[in-house]
């Protein structure tokens, strides 16, 4: 490109700025980001975009980042490096602990509002086997056994634990929201 041609252009991005905005775009994209999409958004030519991508990728490698910029399936994406996969696996294992599956949440709500309650009683209300949810909830220490019910087979009764109160920010069970609490707001 001649100098004259370059000058006719409006205030173009410097290569540094271009690299930065590309990094941001690749980062927010759900799918590997195609060069085509970058050309369209940034209104730069293919060579410029590709040069910027190469530069960005080299930068990630040079500073020995925990991340890498790589070309995959016709697009570019940021990904972790294999070196750290063990730690990442541990994080992913640990992280969802605060989250519950829909089934577990439902079981938990039955236990919270109906406690003490036995497995057959939970099954009656939910209409579905809840054994695995109960195991999950026990593992996460959200529920605890509350002795046996004096009835045929003396089934174990369950109730919510102290951890349940802490995790849901309740002082005691009377603080569980009730239908009435909501009625005030909906009016």
């Amino acid at each position: 490109m001649t100098e004259a041609a370059a000058k006719t252009e409006e205030v173009r991005r410097s290569i540094g700025e271009l690299v930065a905005v590309i990094e941001a775009l690749v980062y927010v994209s759900d799918e590997p980001l195609a060069v085509r999409a970058l050309i369209q958004i940034l209104q730069e030519d293919k060579d410029t975009i590709e040069a910027a991508l190469e530069k960005l990728s080299a930068e990630y490698d040079e500073r020995e980042s925990g991340l890498q910029l790589r070309e995959i399936g016709g697009g570019w994406q940021i990904a972790t490096r294999t070196e750290h996969h063990e730690e990442i696996r541990e994080l992913l294992k640990a992280q969802p602990s605060a989250k519950l599956s829909l089934a577990s949440l439902e079981t938990l709500s039955v236990i919270a509002y109906k406690q003490p309650v036995t497995v057959p009683e939970i099954m009656d209300i939910r209409g579905v086997q809840s054994a695995s949810s109960i195991k999950t909830l026990l593992d996460k220490r959200l529920i605890t056994s509350k002795g046996r019910k004096e009835t045929v087979g003396r089934p174990m009764q369950y109730g919510t634990s102290r951890d349940f109160l802490i995790q849901f920010g309740l002082k005691d069970l009377s603080e569980l929201p009730s239908v009435e609490d909501f009625e005030d707001l909906v009016q």
């Binding site: 927010v28 799918e31 599956s101 829909l102 089934a103 439902e106 938990l108 709500s109 929201p177």
Partner: protein
């Protein structure tokens, strides 16, 4: 959320007043952004360039009442809070007119009838300022984006709804069906496996299912319970994702993309 607005200028000094036409027979009057009587009072005080610690009550009260009358003349329902404040202002105004009784020992300080109102205005003003601060922070934050979805997000079937969400959701559905259940007549009921098969085929066909809509189709409590169990069953065995874009929003069951 596009609102059809029809601007009608009022001869109410400089108040930017406009009528917003929400539908053909529903109008709303916006005057500035008065969020309540305190907000309107602050505006009037500022417009009069009055000192908040020495409010000219008579003048402000007149202006305040003029505003209420204006609203009424346009057949706009005046919120009760505005009326209560009008009464308060009139009461303060009349107390200001009373001669100050000389206190007997001169020790007791006589409270200015305006004091309570001033305190409320000052406190309210702080939160109004804080609200503006929050507004500008939110504006900045809206220009910042988190990362896009990555693979490890996908293999997480868990939802972070609270028990409250779920309880509320189920409650809604049951409520909606109460009427229908009353009229329920005995008919051939579906079995669980029929329900699951039906749901799966709809899911395959449409790639996603709006659970709220689907629950609404159910004809009886029995079917509703079956539908609920079927969803839990499908979530357990199929590669589907449960998506809820907002709290209390619809829950969507979506087929997960097949690995290539």
């Amino acid at each position: 959320m596009e609102q059809q607005t029809e601007q009608i200028k009022f001869d109410f000094d400089t108040v930017e007043a406009q009528i917003v036409r929400k539908s053909s027979d529903q109008f709303m009057l916006h005057m500035g952004e008065f969020d309540g009587p305190l907000d309107l009072l602050l505006y009037l005080i500022r417009r009069e360039e009055a000192n908040i610690f020495d409010i000219p009550v008579a003048k402000i009260t007149d202006e305040y009442l003029r505003y209420i009358k204006l609203m009424k003349s346009y057949d706009i329902a005046v919120a009760a809070e505005f009326i209560v404040m009008a009464a308060t202002l009139i009461e303060i105004k009349s107390r200001m007119l009373l001669p100050v009784e000389p206190s007997l020992d001169g020790e007791e300080e006589i409270e200015d009838p305006r004091q309570e109102l001033v305190d409320r205005l000052l406190e309210y003003q702080q939160y109004k300022g804080a609200a503006e601060m929050l507004w500008s922070r939110a504006t900045v934050e809206q220009a910042v984006f988190p990362r896009g979805r990555i693979e490890s997000d996908e293999n997480n079937l868990e939802v972070s709804a609270t028990i409250f969400d779920l309880f509320e959701k189920f409650q809604q559905i049951i409520d909606r069906h109460k009427e229908e259940i009353k009229m329920e007549i005995k008919r051939d009921e579906m079995t669980l496996s029929e329900m699951i098969a039906d749901m799966k085929s709809r899911l395959l066909k449409n790639k996603e299912l709006n659970l709220m809509e689907m629950f609404a189709e159910m004809k009886s409590r029995h079917e509703l319970v079956l539908a609920f169990i079927s969803v839990l069953e499908i979530v357990k065995v199929e590669s589907v994702r449960l998506i809820q874009e907002r709290t209390f929003g619809d829950i969507i069951l979506r087929l997960a993309p097949q690995p290539a």
